[in-house]
Structure formats: C-alpha cells, structure tokens
Symmetry: C2
Subunit: 370 residues, 2 copies
C-alpha cells in the first residue's frame, strides 16, 4: 500500500491527474499494490477564495504521504509568480526536492520538429538542481529617494569593470542567486550516479565565463565529483551553446547536469525536441524524503474541463513516481502503455489523434491490465 497525495491544481490539472490516476491504479492491480490517494485542494481557486497558498495543514497532510502527484498550476486571474512561487516552488523547497529530473526521450512514433532526428538520437536525462541559484527568491527594488540603500549595494558589492552601472538611475532592481558547495555536490553526485547506469557521460551546463562567482563554484564542485567517477566521461558547455547542440546534435548527450535556472530553460527546449510539452514529465526528487511528480507543462486554462488535453506527460510523470516508490516493473509497464497508445494512434488532437483525455487514460489502463 502506497499513500500518494494528489494535487490537481488549476485549469486542465484535474483532468490530466484523473487520467494518470486511472493508469496508476491499473498498474497497481496488475502488479499487486494499492495506492491510497489523498486529495489536496491546493491551487488558484482556493487562493482566490481564501487567500491561502500553502497552509500548515497542507504541509502536515503532505508529510504523511509517500509521494506527491502534481497536476498543473496557473490562472489568468492571478499575477504571474504568486501561485508558482507560493505553491510549486514552495513545495520543492519545503521538501528539499533538490533534484529535478527530466528525461528527454523521443518516443517511437512521435514527431520532433527537428529534421532528420530519430528516437535513437534523442534520449538523454537532464538533472536540474532544484533548490538554489536564482530560485531562492532574494531580491528587491529601490527608487531614487532611497539612494542610501543603493549606496549600500554599491559599496558592499564592489562593482567590477570600474563602471558605476546605475549612477543616474531613478529605480534599480536586483536579484541574487546562491550556489552552495553542498547544494551543488549532492545534485552533481546524483547525476554521476545516473550516468554510471547509462552511457557513462555527464555534461555540466553553466555560464562560468560570465557569472563566474556562482558557476565558478559549480564547476569546481563538478570537477571534484568527477574525480570520484573515473569511468564517467565529462564535458563542460556554456548554456548558450548547449541550446544549439540540443537542436543540432542531441545524440551527443547522456546525462546533463545544470543549475536551477538554466535547467528550467533547457528542459523546455528539450521537451520541444522530444515532441512538445504534451509529452514531457518531471520529477522533483529528494532521495531521502518525499518526492513530487508532474508534467512540466502549465495549466492551459482555456482548455479547462474540455477533456481534450494530452495526458501523456502526466501519465509518464506517474511512471517516474512508481519507479521512485519502488514499483519499477509497474513503471516500465506504464511507459510501455504510453508507447503503445502512440503507435496505435490512440492520442489527443495535439499529437494528430482524435481521442479525449480520459479515453487515452482508459486505453492505457486497459493495455496494462491485460
């Protein structure tokens, strides 16, 4: 028996999670385990109703679960940032889910926007750091009348190039990113462990030539971890360049490890080359704690309730969840189910099919059961 939290969230969230739950329950039937689903009413609706983002009670409840299955967040009535930071990022930080795992894999039968690339060319793993970097939420804004605060920044952080960047500015905003040695080490370790199980190659993506302080530390840690994995080939690439290679030579990559913000960017690009957001799952993992699995797409409010959204990313995220709670065979069966739905053309409109969200879930559940 596994106790799994479901957070449907906003927009298409409830529909895609429904489809995922159908599939995971079928996998439980087939492989002899039960999932006890625990519902949490967390999202924009409640925020608009009560002003609450994440309550003490939510946290206490989630802490009784083995894992979290997460739909999607975002509502046009709420300013960008509130919900994402107050719920999604808050959960990642609270549960210290320091690994954001995003497989980039072109499944058989899926169309990629890249010319001449086949499933064997696009199959790598992005390991995104998930609790540091520019996601720590430290920053502020000053106006001219608060010049003293500006002076504080200026003096504290000796401006380089001998240039007084903001001398005449009437308003300045700043944002701080942090990388700690321990924070970098644990996620890079994880990436090397995964590389050892795969093709034994690990690429670090950073921008150490410009953001030298944080990514200089990142590189040092990467290099020192690499020393403990002599059988893994390593490589450094700058984030700007890596966007080119994802498009031109995705076959070069096996495991890619990267700080939080660059991970955000390159995994959306990765999602597109594997066929689009409708197909891209993510895991927010704390190997010693409670992990959370989600499609990496948003809540698509305009499709809410229409039963047309593509549930495959969510179902695939469900497979990652099963693997994480020790049901590896079931996880494999779910991924196989996804593949067979694609090959059978039993997919939603965005993938060229004509099926509804629930019908895709039901179909895959049936494949798994038989």
């Amino acid at each position: 028996m596994h106790r799994v939290a479901r957070i449907d969230g906003d927009g298409i969230g409830p529909e895609i999670i429904d489809a995922g739950v159908t599939v995971l329950d079928a996998a439980g039937e087939r492989f002899n385990f039960d999932i006890d689903w625990v519902n949490f009413d967390i999202g924009s609706e409640r925020y608009l109703r009560t002003g609450e983002l994440l309550t003490e009670e939510d946290i206490t409840g989630l802490e009784t679960c083995d894992s979290i299955y997460f739909g999607a967040l975002g509502d046009d009535r709420v300013k960008p940032g509130i919900i994402e930071k107050g719920i999604l990022l808050a959960l990642r930080f609270h549960f210290d889910q320091y690994i954001n795992l995003r497989p980039i894999k072109l499944l058989d039968g899926v169309t990629t926007p890249l010319a001449n690339k086949k499933p064997e060319d696009i199959d790598f793993l992005v390991v995104r750091e998930n609790t540091e970097d520019f996601y720590v939420g430290i920053g502020s804004r000053f106006t001219g009348s608060e010049k003293t605060s500006l002076e504080v920044i200026r003096n504290l952080y000796s401006i380089k190039f001998g240039i007084d960047v903001e001398s005449d500015a009437t308003e300045v905003a700043y944002q701080i990113g942090l990388i700690t040695r321990e924070g970098a080490e644990r996620v890079i370790n994880y990436a090397f462990d995964r590389a050892q199980e795969r093709d034994k190659s690990c690429t670090s993506v950073d921008k150490a030539n410009v953001l030298s302080d944080i990514y200089g530390l990142w590189r040092e840690v990467f290099t020192s971890v690499a020393g403990r994995y002599p059988d893994v080939k390593t490589d450094f690439t700058f984030v700007d360049a890596v966007t080119m290679w994802f498009v031109k030579n995705p076959e070069w990559f096996d495991v890619v490890v990267t700080p939080n913000m660059f991970g955000d960017i390159i995994t959306d690009l990765g999602a597109m080359i594997q066929g689009g957001l409708g197909l891209a799952p993510g895991g927010n993992i704390n190997p010693d704690g409670i992990s959370m699995f989600e499609p990496i797409h948003g809540s698509a409010p305009k499709y809410k309730g229409m039963n047309i959204a593509n549930p495959l990313a969510t179902i695939w995220a469900g497979a990652l969840l099963l693997e994480n709670i020790g049901e590896k065979e079931a996880a494999d069966a779910v991924l196989k189910g996804i593949e067979s739905s694609i090959l059978a053309g039993h997919v939603t409109k965005d993938m060229g099919g004509s099926q509804s969200t629930s019908s895709v879930g039901d179909w895959i559940a049936k494949q798994i059961r038989t």
Copy 2:
C-alpha cells in the same frame, strides 16, 4: 572617409576579419567611400605576453574611431572568463553599447536543422540588453570560516519562503543581477522603434514569475513603453517557453527584446535555427556613441591559420557596421553578396562547399564591385 578600428582577436579572428575587410573595402569602392582601418593588437596573445587585457591606450585609440570591427576571442591557455570579461564585455560596457542587435534570418539556400521551415518562417530581430542584468559582474564567494559575511547577506536580503537556504553550507557563492528603469527603457524603446519599421510586433522575454524583482521592473517598463507605441502589438513570454517557440513556431516573431543573459542564450538558439553560428552576426550598438560589430561565434582555436573558417557571420556583421555608419546602400550590397555566394555554392565546408575563408571574401568582394 570612415575611421574603423579592427580588433582581430584570437584563433580564426584575423582570417575572418581579413575576409570582412576585403568585402567592406570593395563596398567602399563601389559606393564611393574610404575606410581607414586602424589595427589594435588586443586579445589573448598579448594578454599571455604582457598580462594586459584592455589598456588606457587601447581605449584612447578606439575613441578616435567611428566604429569597431571585432573578430573573435578565446584561447585554451586562458581560464574561461578572463578574456571575455576583460576585453569583450569591458568594451561593451565602456562604450555603453546598450543594444546587442542580432538578426535571426534564414537566408535562401541555407539549411536549417528545423523540419519544414523556410526562409519566410525565420526572419526576426532579437534586441538584447547589453550592459545590465547578470553581466554587471557583481558576486563573490565565502567559506564557512567567514560566516559573518554570510550572515550579512542573509539579513540584508530577507530570504523568502521562510527557508534558511544555506544554513549548513561550508561555502557559498552569490551573484547579483541589476536592472535599472533607465537601462531597460532605452533598449526597449529601441526595440519598439525597430518593430515600427518592421511587422509592428514586439515580444518581451523574461522570467518575471520567478526572478520577480528584476524582471518585474523589466515588465513594468516594457508595458509603459508599449503605451507610447499603440500601433505595435505586444506579447510577453517566459524564457523557457520561448526556446520552444523558436523551434516550433519561429514565424510568430518579429522583434524580440530581452535582458542580457536570456538574450545571450536565445540568440545562440536563434543562430542555430538560421543555419548555425557560421552565419550569425551581432552588433553592439550605442546610437550616440561608438558601436562594435562581430560574428557571434568564438575563436575556434583549432582552425586557426587554416583558412577554412566560415567568414559569412563576420561579413554580415560588416554589413551591420556599414548600415550603422550611414552606408545603407553598401550594407545592402554586402548582404546581397552573401546571399549570392550561398546560392552559387561558393561557401566553406561547414556549409557544404569547398571554398577557403579568403576565397569566399574575394568572391563576394568581386560581386559587389561588378
């Protein structure tokens, strides 16, 4: 008579600039102007010899020129960051070249790695802010024994989410990005001016949902500038999503304006969809000062002196330079020359041809002269 500085830089820099100079001189002959080329010995070689990056004398000399034609920088013998920050970024900052202009245009006859995209689908302009954001070079590192400094950061910049991010860390690095109202305004104004001459659409790329302080200010400024251009359609996209749309729907974009770091990333992706770095020029522009034009690729040390590097990005950068110094007709002729070399297959190996660097330059020069 125009006085133009040439900074060849490292690796293939001298060869590609030679080809560019040949073409620009030909354009001068044809359209009746002379270019007085002034050579500057700036780059890794000198740095390794003398320890100098950019001297007072360099600056004084460059200040006597109307424009700067810049090759490429970078040498494997120097740690990442030193040369880039000490020369390239230092020049951008010193001359306050606050606009980094990068046309993304698939020329006729060029192969894009995207399936089913034609020249009419890939034709937009990225306007990258060039003097602020995370490029200001402010950051530092602390070790555990300097805990007090850590406390300073912690207290000064109230950590959000109620989470004490780096509590047990033995080493922390931080990096600060700045956006000023004036800094955002001037580059966004420029982008809207360009949009007005084109298809009247301007897209802002940011990550205001997470880095809310700096990009919140950026969005506010974008919105207020947009109010002065009622004929220009506007749109906001997050940087992660925009990498998807560049690959899936590049035809959606006309002018894209973005802060420095995201601009760095998305223009490399843009370069790839327009056929690769061999074809991507950039202008570092100060409309009231001295601007600088360069290919956006690096110095490719391993091809140094082999006369095989693709000079088209540099020649195209030369066209942008000519336009900037008021020689619009000549600029158009250079771009036409580039297009005809591609259509004639008179190109380097990376583009499927068999020509040398200098032969491509000579051929285009000849086209322009006749």
